[in-house]
């Protein structure tokens, strides 16, 4: 079984300050992890993904995340927030390919973190 916990339902930052969105995961095997962003009335957009290569993953729009197996964490960061970053962010875990059973890439989403950016 796999699960994701996003530790903050809302995060508020000022424009130009760092962003930290926290995520802890649970998985029976080496997971694949993703961060998605959802702007209002828009589809889900992939920010970045970790699939057992480098533990520090760089994504689009200046976001990055670090996979820490010892802490079962995959926190999302950005050095300097922009107004356009205001959206809802989802941490997602997937069953790894060939993990046994139904390993076709089913995604399990966290509850989401709403990021507000103040001018």
């Amino acid at each position: 079984a796999q699960s994701v916990t996003q530790l903050d339902s809302h995060v508020s930052v000022s424009e130009g300050t760092p962003v930290l969105l926290r995520c802890n995961y649970s998985s029976s095997y080496s997971p694949s992890l993703f961060w998605y962003v959802q702007h209002p009335n828009k589809g889900l957009q992939l920010l970045l993904k970790y699939t057992s290569a480098a533990t520090l993953v760089k994504g689009i729009n200046g976001f990055e995340a670090e996979f820490k197996k010892s802490e079962t964490s995959f926190h999302l960061t950005k050095p300097s927030a922009h107004m356009s970053d205001a959206a809802e962010y989802f941490c997602v875990v997937s069953d790894a390919p060939n993990a046994g059973g139904t390993s076709y890439g089913k995604l399990t989403f966290g509850q989401g973190t709403i990021l507000t950016v103040h001018p």
Partner: protein, 114 residues
């Protein structure tokens, strides 16, 4: 098309009415998923197709929900006798292969049951 297309974008149904939600995946994509996103929640898995085969329907909440993908391309999610708790955004995603490869999500259909 260039992306995953879902229709209608919005649907209002009276309680007890049947609805059909359509998903046009990216051409040639093997995998197709349906997710349900209730207000203020993350998306939750409903069902998975590999080509025309429905390999996993464990997330369908009741036997009122039915999905098909008869020719391995377009998929339809049907909800019979809609209830208020069915109100949600229904998301479709497709991927070129199985496994963790390049999911593309549609913009969703927002269903409101009144």
């Amino acid at each position: 098309g260039a992306g995953v297309s879902q229709s209608p974008r919005y649907k209002v149904a009276k309680r007890g009415q049947d609805v059909a939600l359509r998903c046009d995946p990216i051409s040639g994509h093997v995998s197709l998923f349906w997710y349900q996103q209730a207000l203020g929640q993350g998306p939750e898995f409903l069902t998975y197709f590999q080509n025309e085969a429905q390999l996993d329907k464990s997330g369908l909440p009741s036997d009122r929900f039915f999905a098909e993908r008869p020719e391995g391309s377009v998929s339809t999610l049907k909800i019979q006798r809609t209830q208020q708790e069915d109100s949600a955004v229904y998301l479709c995603a497709s991927s070129p292969r199985t496994g963790n490869n390049g999911y593309t999500f549609g913009s969703g259909t927002r269903l409101t049951v009144v």
